[in-house]
Amino acid sequence: MPTAFQDQFTPERMTRRRVAVLTFVVFVTGVASLLMADLLWGSPLKAWAGLVWLLFTLLFAFVAFGAAHACYGYLVRRRRQRDPCAIGRSLPPGEEATVPLARTAIVMPVYNEPAERIFAGLETIYRSVERTGQLEHFHFFVLSDSTGPDQWVEEELGWARLTSRLGASGRLFYRRRRVNSNKKAGNLADFCRRWGREYRYMVVLDADSIMAGDTIVRLVRLMERNPRAGLIQTAPALARARTLFARTLQFASGMYGPIFQAGLNYWQMGESNYWGHNAIIRLAPFIAHCALPPLPGREPFGGKILSHDFVEAALLRRAGWSVWLAPDLGGSYEELPPTLIDYVGRDRRWCQGNLQHFWLLFARGLHGISRIHFFLGIFAYASSLLWLISLLLGTLLAVGFTRTGLTWLPEPALASLIGHSAHWQAGSLTVLTFILLFLPKVLALADRSCQPDGLAPFGGVGRASIGILLETVVTSLLAPVLMFFHANFVIVTLFGRGVRWTAQRRDGHTTWRDAARAHAGQTIAGIGWLVLLIAYAPALVPWMAPVLAGLLLSIFFSQLTGREGPGQALRRHGLLVTPEERAAPPELRDLETALGTQAAEAPGPTMGRGFFQAVLDPCANALHRALQREHPRQPAGTRRHIQALEEKLLREGPGALRPAERNFLLGDPGAMARLHRAVWTRPRAGLAAVWNQALADIEAASWKDPLPAAATGQLISVPRALFRLAPGGAAGPL
């Protein structure tokens, strides 16, 4: 029997909504395009003017599309009953208990991420699910593709400690792939092939994801209530930002995000997109339809698909399963790269992944909306190149006008019909552009003001308004810098330069040296551009000032925003604050506690970390060996190679081996047993200084004072408590 939600969600309504969005975009772009064409009409440089017009129209349509999201999102959120076509409406709060849960795997693919953050996040989510009283339906998987030897050992220890602390043996699992083929998509596919049939759903997390137990339980129930739903994507709120850069984007996301998400759902509904994490997936159709084929050609443009999420959503949709965004579902969080340099590093990967989707634009059998998702993903980066070209063309045209002495705005313009000049028309066009750019901010502010708690979660009316102004300044200076980066990424990708798969840095700051290295090219380009304009078209300088300022200040801007000091100073003054900062939800508070526990459990400096710890520490060594497969019959050559590596490690220390060699030893439990035994039993003469020093420090600390009461009984934390070194290097108080 169809539910009230299914009555609302009809094809006619879908069409009506999409036509409404299209009408907005076409109308606004049409007017602007006509005014621009009229202004360029009198130009003697017809071909160039035509190209400028075309680029203007394309870019304006993109801006108008964004504004349409804000407008319709605002209208939907202002309705008394909110959006009747939001997936959350299919399960009214009173009916939740009537929907049974199903077996669900909560999976976290990781790749060389800090183990403390991985397991603190997982602990938070686990405890939150536990509090719902529905833990029995869930299993947790850490799916590691980590390649670093230190990460490998730290992840194992993190898993064992957390399993022990939570009493989660048989519920919390850890799997590491030795060969990480097909990157993250391959990691998830490997999980599906091994254990996918055990579960009806899979909740996919990122290493920095946090989800509330209630949200996860509700997602499962929503899937159960909507049997044709293949995937539900939550809209994660950004959290835990500390630098000025990250806090600005976090504020923007918190303030403007809800109306944009409502706007997205307004026209996408069951043909929404997948963002790669903080989403629930129905496993049977995912396994049946979402194994990714390689793309034609070679990387970076072809080969393995990098941005797998869009493609998986398209394949699910192609198979007849709906894909939903749940904009009204809270309790879903993620973190941001801390600095502009880290942010563009992530964009570099995303850009290449999105450009690969060009191949799929014309693929047969895909839904039209999936093609639009692909196009928008490509255009999100290609638009930067187009914007740069249009600015360069504008500059060249201005130079041409100056050289030829031609007038910029030939009369009569269309505006003369209502008694105005071409200058007035050009000014109106500029105003229209600014309206479209700023309308979302105004609507978001209005929407937030109408919420029951008003703007209090953002610091009140005054601070929220100042926050918006600050955010506008920062993002205005950021825009030309990103334009340069993205244009560069598009060009180098098109010319065949791929990107390596690297771990995302989740904390850190920008030094002057980093900033200078990253932005030198943009600064030089800005200086050159300014000189050209001053020499040939000084009248254009004020118009280009925002772009030029962004480029000229990029080093300073990147360094300033990439530090925690300014970000935290603003926070102390209540600026750029978000609801999650004002009143942290329980999960984010729990995360901080869990991170504290992880830090307390980390080994002290004497013990070293990761690989070093796996050789020296009795528990780390035994645990690592217990988790490895044995190699009963090794070829003689391999045995000799391992023996040579063991000897080198013992005599020269871990630094003498390459990461691949350390991984090789880690993969052999017999070698790790021999190394552990040798380090503890060999005479000093047979060991490298680094081992002798560590052993001497441990021995000295062991016989000094009694073990502190706080550390008693905490096996893994003992080393830190025992061997914490004072600044001078001597053993500290025990």
Binding site: R193, A363, R364, L623, E699, S702, L715
Partner: protein, 168 residues
């Protein structure tokens, strides 16, 4: 399981070995007072006793070698914080049942039993535009000279355009 190495013969070597044994036990979480009970036990002997005790506490699993059994036993007893919680019973030949239960509760189960599923890559007909693009890509790969010529032509076109705008 590897046999423990022979005890060091000389007095300084034996003293060093005992010092290390103490440090090793402290690292395992044993209190200083309890460590002194093993004051005359060299590290080589201690490691052997620890392995033997661990294997007694944790029942073996099918298809598990003696070495792996010992490693798992050691890991479980250390994860259960046995040296800290039951210092007096550490390496005791007849440990209390709750100690054994605590060790067995730390069973290492990193993986679920597999239920393999087939997940074959999907066929995608990329359509005529992609075919043409793919063919161009292949041609460029096959004839790098052609790719170079195309790039230089584009660059020349750009220069010409700049010249045109500036001059006319």
């Amino acid at each position: 399981m590897n046999p423990p190495p022979p005890r060091p013969a000389t007095f300084p070597a034996r003293r060093g070995s005992i010092l290390r044994a103490g440090a090793y036990l402290r690292l395992c979480g044993l209190s200083r007072a309890e460590v002194e009970k093993f004051a005359d036990c060299p590290i080589e002997e201690l490691q052997g006793r620890l392995d033997a005790w661990a294997t007694r506490l944790v029942p073996p699993e099918p298809s598990e070698s003696a070495q792996q059994h010992a490693a798992r036993g050691r890991a479980q007893l250390l994860l259960a914080r046995v040296p800290g919680r039951w210092p007096a019973q550490f390496l005791d030949p007849s440990p209390p049942p709750e100690l054994a239960e605590a060790v067995q509760a730390e069973a290492l189960r990193p993986r679920r039993p597999m239920r393999p599923a087939s997940m074959a890559p999907q066929d995608l007909d990329l359509g005529p535009v992609s075919d043409v693009a793919q063919e161009t890509w292949r041609t460029f790969d096959k004839w790098p000279v052609l790719r170079g010529i195309t790039l230089w032509l584009l660059f020349s076109l750009l220069l010409l355009s700049v010249f045109y705008v500036v001059r006319f």
